[in-house]
Symmetry: C2
DNA sequence: ACCTGAACACCGTTCAAGT
DNA sequence: ACCTGAACACCGTTCAAGT
């Protein structure tokens, strides 16, 4: 087949198809991707620099439906919205997570989300240190929860027999599996704890700020 | 070379060598591993069922130095010890994390650690649901923190120029990189928040328990 | 500019063969 | 039982060649 009148491929189509393969089969390889697109392997390299770039494109697709945060939202609500978006994005494509996690972020849309939350917290009065620590904590939470949804440990599979402590606890607990059960409830709980902790950080920052900057806070 | 008088290889040696390669070069492949051991590739398969088994062996090696938890330790101290052990184990071999995370746990030593914390919390009075939620939260924290140590996002690299909110915050913050800086401090902070939250869960469990079981709690 | 076929240097796994 | 060499079915990437 010679060159078609209109291009068949595009970066977007390639990444979207790869994500679809991940969703359906849990993996994607370059040859299989080419086959699925009805195209030769080497064609892909005219639109995408390699496998890593495809994965990064997938990250971009997944970051797209990130929630808009109202400019006048209180920081607590914004943080909750941000974290849920982050986590939902992963939960929607659990099979993609291992690929994403194995690779450092370079997708601009994803990086922008971090900028948004950073600016937001700074505006709310958090000190630079507190912003960095808060984002790290939220990142830990979302990434951990994403991995939990994407590849729940055998730990949580109730297939195993035996009467180890963990098995007994699982048998007695009434938490269904999946995003709405154990994983989701733990996420919401942990998120609320972090937000509470952040409120403490903020209170401390305000105290220190007014004290060192203006000196009106009597020693 | 014919069969040597004493076996050259062992599961342990293979896994230990593979872990060493990960630590040094950030990756290991079966051919390179064989070469490093001065052995042919197919020899490995007499001691290990495949690459996945080697990775699982590595998980076992990393779980080995888990801290002993004194039987009479209060649950708060036990949880903190457990989480730090978990996280330190990963932090000691950051390059191994992506390989471990891509694969479901089957290593018995690792599974045992989950049993220990489950039994411990149950003994402290946590309800089954609270145990499951607590372990999930701690797991999220440790895994997220491990990934953070193992493959810190470009987000935290101060190489980038420009004046995005995140860059500004990083420039103004005074948190060095690495386990003792940003990552470690956020871990400790988040851990303390989770422990506080767990105390709430426990208090609620005790209330509900005494109420439903004995009925002495007046409505 | 866009797609192709062929080649390259890998990878993990298997298996009959040796002692 | 333990190690070997050769083969297998893959993988991601490159590149000269076509239009």
């Amino acid at each position: 087949m010679p060159r078609p009148s209109a291009p068949i491929l595009s970066r977007e189509l390639i990444c979207r198809t790869a994500l679809g393969m991940l969703d359906r089969t849990g993996r994607f390889t370059v040859p299989e991707l080419a086959q699925r697109l009805g195209v030769s392997v080497s064609s892909l390299y005219h639109h995408v620099s390699g496998r890593a770039a495809i994965v990064e494109g997938i990250r971009g697709l997944m970051a797209a439906p990130f929630a808009e945060i109202p400019a006048d939202a209180p920081w607590e609500a914004a943080v909750v919205l941000w974290a849920r978006s982050y986590r939902d994005a992963f939960a929607a494509h659990p099979a993609a997570i291992p690929a994403l996690v194995a690779q450092t972020i370079s997708d601009p849309a994803t990086l922008e989300q971090y900028d948004r939350i950073a600016g937001l917290l700074r505006g709310a009065g958090f000190s630079p240190n507190s912003v960095v620590l808060s984002i790290t904590m939220l990142d830990n939470l979302c990434l951990g929860a994403a991995l939990d949804v994407g590849a729940p440990s055998v730990i949580w599979e109730d297939t195993g027999r035996g009467d180890s402590p963990l098995r007994q606890v699982l048998a007695q607990a009434s938490l269904p599996d999946g995003p709405d059960g154990r994983s989701g409830q733990a996420f919401e709980l942990e998120l609320s704890y972090i937000v509470s902790g952040m409120a403490d950080l903020l209170a401390r920052d305000r105290l220190a700020g007014s004290w060192t900057a203006d000196g009106w806070f009597p020693s």
